[in-house]
Amino acid sequence: MTQKQFFKHKRTSLITSEIDNLKKTAFDVRKKVFSMILTAHASHLASAYSIVEVLVYLYQKVLHLNPSKPASPNRDRFILSKGWGVSALYVLLSKKGFFSKKLLNEYCKDGSKMIGIATRNGIRGIEATTGSMGHGLPIGVGLAKAMKLQGKKNRTVVLISDGECDTGSTWESILLAAHHKLDNLLVIVDYNKWQSFGRTNEVLNLEPLINKWKAFNWHAEMVRDGHDFYQIDKAFKKCFVVRDKPQVIIAHTIKGKGLSAIEDRNEWHYQTPRENEIKVAKLEGLI
């Protein structure tokens, strides 16, 4: 698809068959993530499930990437700032052909580079080392600025967590991006309302979150259901036409979305699925 056709395509709404395909991919991603986390006795299952739809939409509909040339200078850049949700990203990268499916079985194994936090260590398609909170957006601002300086038309997308909206470096870079009018920078906030030790509004209230971004001179869109492709699509398309301002999409999501036994429960930031969750996962088709 040429760039022109791409943007024409971007202006029209998703048709039902496209949405069905995206949903199917999202389901496949959840299945694979479940098996990876179960095998590795790993954590962060709920964190990964929270961002599946946004990631699927990005990799199927937004990002211009060439898996056979992962370092192509004209590629879009995607930073998963909430790097602890990386299992879902690995699955998508493998689906897109960045690396073989076999590598997914290495997730969190002894000596493996498939680390449980996004780490720029040679795994194709991983652009930055994140997971220490508040690192992804500053790097994204630098990437977007470099694209502008080099006269490139590509885009930088950063997915951050709500917990990361506590950090000073995130807000420093929110100022920086707006000051530099980086309209080639798009941020998605995965607003699942849980952070490490509690509800975001109880630990450190972020509200009114969208107004804060607007007050910092960003174009801000709200997605009421961050698992609904139709709504995600609408928000992205509104952002794509914005000029002279960076854009943010506040996506209201559910931590653990897609497996009823773990939905909206913070312990699934930490725990590995056990008997009960495996039983439910079977009933819900994830195994």
């Binding site: 508040g134 500053p138 470099a146 420093e172």
Partner: protein
């Protein structure tokens, strides 16, 4: 020092289009002309050291070489984790310039005193640390920083503006350079203390004590063989620097010594491991911490007498 810094950086930016200079709101009376000459390659990112390191990382990932400039205290301590993870782990061409190190901002107290920066930077794998002691070393350090593929920390303070080197002196990363030859003991100095150490050695000469004076503008990496050669020659080695005695050149030389067969004894002459809670002139604060010609020499003389 600042003149040597800005002149060299300007020349580098004229000949290399890939250099971008970032400052975290520092550089009054330093950067005005550079800003005019390179409006798209000079950015003041405001008081955002943490985000600025990430911003520099994004630029470096896109092929630029970034010189990031801030007060030494804030360029290293405030954003240490960003320097470690974003710059260090990725081995990126971000050259961190820590200005006004040590007691440079003498009237401003502990918030602005910087005795920890080199120690912190030494902990980052792959980080080159250059601590120039005079304008000649400053120019050399900047040219090296651009040539080196990977992160560099350049540290300088307000002391050290007098030229000690002669034109043509051949400096090498990781190596000591003999400034003046003596016949017993060695004094190795790093950074702005070069002039003070030079004066101290001259003063001792009047008492017929001739000490070899080496300058060491690199704190990391250090060529161990070059240091072992000095250890083999002299029993008493003094290391002088404007930094906490823990963590910088004195520590590095001690580590090399303890892991070799040498019987040399290292005496670290630096800022004692206590906070300086008073204000005063730079010479006053340095002297208070044992860093003046008199105090350095009295330490050297006491040590030599004791060990004879």
């Amino acid at each position: 020092m600042k003149k040597a810094y800005i002149d060299t950086l300007t020349a580098l930016m004229r000949s290399h289009n890939d250099i971008i200079t970032i400052t975290a709101d520092m550089g009054f009376s330093v950067y005005e002309n550079l800003q005019k000459e390179f409006p798209t390659r000079f950015y003041n990112t405001g008081v955002t050291e943490q985000a600025s390191i990430g911003f520099s990382t994004g630029l470096a990932l896109s092929g630029y070489t970034v010189f990031f400039y801030a007060q030494a205290a804030f360029a290293t301590m405030r954003c240490f984790e960003q320097v470690r993870l974003d710059v260090g782990y990725n081995n990126l061409n971000v050259k961190i310039v820590g200005v006004n190190a040590g007691f440079s901002l003498n009237q401003l107290g502990v918030s602005h005193f910087t005795q920890e920066d080199i120690g912190l930077m030494r902990l980052i794998p792959g980080m080159t640390i250059l601590s120039p002691g005079d304008p000649y070393e400053m120019k050399w350090a900047l040219l090296q920083a651009y040539q080196i593929d990977g992160p560099v920390y350049i540290r300088f303070s307000k002391v050290g503006s007098k030229d000690i080197h002669k034109t043509g002196d051949k400096l090498k990363v990781g190596h000591p350079f003999l400034i003046s030859k003596g016949n017993q003991s060695a004094l190795i100095v790093s950074g702005g203390m070069l002039e003070l150490a030079y004066d101290a050695v001259k003063e001792l000469e009047k008492k017929k004590i001739k000490i070899n004076l080496y300058t060491m503008p690199t704190v990391k990496p250090i060529d161990k063989i070059a240091i072992r050669k000095i250890l083999a020659l002299y029993k008493n080695i003094f290391v002088v620097e404007e930094h906490n005695i823990i963590g910088a050149l004195g520590s590095a030389i001690s580590e090399i010594t303890s892991e070799s067969a040498s019987k040399s004894i290292i005496t670290r002459i630096g800022v004692p491991d206590i906070f300086t809670g008073v204000t005063g002139s730079i010479p006053y604060l340095l002297d208070l911490n044992g860093l003046s010609v008199n105090k350095i020499n009295s330490k050297i003389l006491t040590t030599l007498t004791k060990r004879h």
